[in-house]
C-alpha cells in the first residue's frame, strides 16, 4: 500500500488539536479536582499544604454540606419524575391523538429550552415576587395570604423545582415525540383490535418501544440536573434565604470563591463527581431491560 505513508501524518494532524485542547481543558482539570481536594490551599498564594483526607473529614461533619446534599437529591428526584412523566405523556398524546395545531404546541413547548437560565431566573423572580408577583397576584383571587416563594426556606426548593421543570419539559417532550413517531401505526391498530385501551397501549407498547431512548436520556438528565440546579440557584436565589437553598455545585463555588478555600471546595467537587458517576451507574443498572423490537 503506497497510501500508508501519509496516513499516519494525516491522522495525527486531524486529531492533535482536539486531543490537546480536550486534555488541557477537560481531563487535566478533572484530575486536578481530585488532587487538590487533598490540599489545604488559601487562594492566590502558593502555600499549599498536603493534608490528606482532612478536607473530607471536615466535609462530612458539615451541616451545610448535608443540607446541599439533601437539596440536590430532592431536586433530582422531583424534577426527574415530574419532567419525565409529563414529557412522556404529552409526547404520547401529541403523536397518537389527532390533535389540531400539533406543530404549534411543539414549537411553544420547546421555547424554554432555548432561553438562558439567567433569563428564566429573571422571569421566575418576577413571577415569584411576593407583593406584586404574577403568581401571588393570581392566587390572591382565591386566597388572602401571600406565599414567600423565594423568601421562605420551606418553599424555596419547590419554587426551584417548578422553574426547572418549566425549563426542561419541552425539550424532552419534543425528543420523545421524535422517537415515538418512529413506531409504526400498524402495531397500535392490532393492539386496539385486541381491545387494548389507550392507557394500556401507552404502558405496554409505547413505553417499552422507546425504552432505550428513555434510558439514555434519563442518565444524562440526572447528571445535567446536578449542573442545572447550580445554574438556577446561582442566578435565582444565590443560596438564600440563609444559605438554605444551596445545592452541591453552588456550595462548592461558594467555598472555593467566596471563602477562597480551594482545597475544601475541590473536596466537594470530588464528592459530586463520585456521586454522579455512581448514580449514573445505578440508573443504568436498574433500568436495564431486554430490548424489544416488533
Amino acid at each position: 500500500m503506497q497510501r500508508t505513508k501519509g496516513r499516519g501524518r494525516f491522522i495525527v494532524t486531524c486529531l492533535a488539536p482536539a486531543v490537546i485542547l480536550f486534555l488541557i481543558f477537560m481531563i487535566y482539570p478533572t484530575i486536578d479536582v481530585f488532587r487538590m481536594s487533598m490540599y489545604k490551599w488559601g487562594g492566590y498564594t502558593a502555600d499549599k499544604t498536603f493534608v490528606g483526607l482532612q478536607n473530607f473529614q471536615t466535609l462530612f461533619k458539615s451541616d451545610k454540606f448535608y443540607n446541599s446534599f439533601q437539596n440536590t437529591v430532592l431536586l433530582i428526584v422531583l424534577v426527574t419524575i415530574v419532567t419525565f412523566s409529563l414529557a412522556l405523556i404529552f409526547a404520547a398524546i401529541l403523536t397518537r391523538e389527532k390533535i389540531k395545531g400539533q406543530n404549534f404546541f411543539r414549537i411553544i413547548f420547546y421555547i424554554p429550552n432555548i432561553l438562558s437560565v439567567v433569563v428564566i431566573s429573571a422571569i421566575f423572580s418576577a413571577i415569584y415576587r411576593p407583593e406584586v408577583g404574577l403568581l401571588n397576584s393570581f392566587l390572591n383571587l382565591f386566597r388572602g395570604e401571600e406565599i414567600q416563594w423565594l423568601g421562605s426556606s420551606k418553599v424555596v426548593m419547590y419554587s426551584l423545582v417548578i422553574a426547572m421543570i418549566w425549563q426542561a419539559i419541552g425539550y424532552y417532550m419534543v425528543m420523545y415525540m421524535a422517537s415515538m413517531a418512529n413506531v409504526s401505526e400498524s402495531i397500535y391498530e392490532s393492539a386496539s383490535l385486541e381491545g387494548a385501551g389507550k392507557i394500556k397501549q401507552f404502558f405496554s407498547l409505547t413505553l417499552p418501544l422507546v425504552w432505550t431512548n428513555i434510558r439514555t436520556t434519563l442518565t444524562f438528565f440526572i447528571i445535567s440536573t446536578i449542573n442545572m440546579s447550580f445554574l438556577f440557584v446561582k442566578a435565582m436565589t444565590q443560596g438564600n434565604p440563609n444559605g438554605s437553598s444551596h445545592v452541591f455545585l453552588s456550595y462548592m463555588y461558594l467555598e472555593a470563591y467566596t471563602n477562597s478555600s480551594y482545597g475544601y471546595g475541590m473536596a466537594i467537587g470530588s464528592v459530586v463527581f463520585i456521586f454522579s458517576f455512581a448514580l449514573a451507574g445505578i440508573i443504568n443498572a436498574v433500568t436495564k431491560r431486554e430490548e424489544i423490537e416488533f
Binding site: 497510501r3 491522522i11 494532524t13 486531524c14 486529531l15 482536539a18 486531543v19 485542547l21 480536550f22 488541557i24 481543558f25 477537560m26 487535566y28 482539570p29 478533572t30 486536578d32 401529541l94 391523538e97 390533535i99 404549534f104 404546541f105 414549537i107 420547546y110 421555547i111 432555548i114 438562558s116 437560565v117 439567567v118 433569563v119 429573571a122 422571569i123 421566575f124 418576577a126 415576587r129 406584586v132 404574577l134 397576584s137 419541552g170 425539550y171 421524535a178 422517537s179 401505526e185 386496539s192 431512548n213 439514555t216 436520556t217 447528571i223 445535567s224 446536578i226 449542573n227 447550580f230 445554574l231 446561582k234 442566578a235 472555593a256 470563591y257 475541590m266 467537587g269 459530586v272 463527581f273
Partner: protein, 297 residues
C-alpha cells in the same frame, strides 16, 4: 392528518379530547404568558412596578432600552457575546470536524482509546471543573506576569471562546462521528481512485455531505455559548469584558437596591431576543436535529 387511517383505532371520547386540549392549552399559556409579560414589562415606567403586574404599560417607554444599552453597558456586552460566540463556534467546527472524521473512519493503534476517552468526556460537566480551569489560568498568568510583565489568559475573550470550544468537543465529536460512521466506504474509495489525497478527500468529499449535521451543531452551540454565564463570569473579571448574560445578572442584582425594573426587563429582552429570532427561523431544524443527539450537557 388524513381521516382514512383512523378507522381501526378506537377513538378517544369527545370529553376526553376536550380535556386533552384544555391541558395542552394551559401548558402553552404557562409558557407564553411569562415571556409575553417580560416584553410588556420592558416598556413600563418604573413606578408601574409597584402596582398590579397585569396592567398594560402607560405608554411605550423605549427609554428603558436606551438606558440598558448605554448606561448599563448592555450594548458593549452584546458585542462581547457576539465575539465569543462566533469565535467559539468557529474554533469548534475547525477542530472537531477533522477529529470526528478520523475517529469515526480510521482504525489505528490508539483509535479505540481516544474514542472511549472522548465518550467519557460526555460525563464531565464544565461546571464541575470551572474552578481548576480558573486556577490553571491564574497560574499561567502569574508566570507570565513574572517573565513578561503582563498576564494573558484571564480576561481574554479568545481564551473564553477556546474554553467553550474545548468543553463542547465531546458532545460535538459524538454527534459528528455518529454521522460519519453511517457513510458508505465507497465515497473515499472513489476519491482515492481519482487520485485525491486524504486531506482533499476529507475536505472536498466528506465535509460537504455533513452539512446538515454541521448546521445542527452550530445551532446547539450557538444557544449554549450565547446563554452561558458561569465560565464567563469566572474567567472575565474585568467589567468591560462581560458577556450579555453576566451583564443581565448584574442588572438583576442592581434591581434589588436601586429599583430600576424597566431597565432590567429591557436587558432581559436584549438577551433573549436573538435566541427567539433564531428559533423562529430554524425551529424545524432544531427540533428535528435533536433526534440525532438525544442528550445534552
Amino acid at each position: 392528518m388524513s381521516k382514512k387511517d383512523t378507522g381501526a383505532i378506537k377513538q378517544t371520547s369527545k370529553a376526553g379530547k376536550i380535556g386533552i386540549y384544555v391541558v395542552l392549552i394551559i401548558l402553552a399559556i404557562t409558557i407564553i404568558v411569562p415571556i409575553a409579560w417580560v416584553f410588556m414589562a420592558s416598556l413600563k415606567e418604573n413606578e408601574q412596578f409597584y402596582g398590579s403586574p397585569w396592567t398594560l404599560p402607560n405608554g411605550l417607554h423605549f427609554e428603558n432600552f436606551v438606558q440598558a444599552w448605554q448606561e448599563a453597558d448592555m450594548g458593549s456586552y452584546m458585542l462581547n457575546s457576539v465575539i465569543v460566540t462566533a469565535l467559539g463556534i468557529g474554533l469548534l467546527i475547525i477542530i472537531s470536524l477533522p477529529a470526528a472524521y478520523v475517529l469515526a473512519r480510521f482504525k489505528f493503534k490508539t483509535s479505540r482509546f481516544w474514542n472511549v476517552l472522548f465518550m467519557a468526556g460526555l460525563f464531565i460537566n464544565v461546571n464541575y471543573i470551572v474552578v481548576p480551569i480558573f486556577l490553571m489560568l491564574v497560574d499561567a498568568d502569574s508566570f507570565l506576569q513574572s517573565t513578561l510583565g503582563h498576564g494573558f489568559f484571564l480576561n481574554n475573550l479568545f481564551i473564553l471562546a477556546l474554553i467553550y470550544a474545548s468543553t463542547a468537543l465531546p458532545f460535538t465529536i459524538y454527534l459528528l462521528s455518529g454521522y460519519f460512521k453511517s457513510l458508505a466506504k465507497d465515497y473515499e474509495e472513489a476519491a482515492y481512485v481519482d487520485g485525491a489525497g486524504y486531506f482533499r478527500t476529507m475536505i472536498q468529499v466528506i465535509f460537504p455531505m455533513a452539512k446538515p449535521s454541521i448546521i445542527t451543531i452550530i445551532l446547539f452551540n450557538f444557544l449554549s455559548f450565547w446563554n452561558e454565564y458561569i465560565i464567563s463570569m469566572t474567567m472575565l473579571t474585568k467589567p468591560t469584558l462581560k458577556t450579555l448574560p453576566v451583564g443581565l445578572m448584574n442588572l438583576m442584582a442592581a434591581q434589588k437596591s436601586a429599583v430600576q425594573y424597566g431597565r432590567m426587563y429591557a436587558g432581559l429582552v436584549l438577551v433573549m431576543l436573538p435566541t427567539l429570532i433564531l428559533y423562529m427561523c430554524v425551529q424545524k431544524q432544531l427540533t428535528e436535529g435533536m433526534t440525532v443527539g438525544g442528550l445534552k450537557g
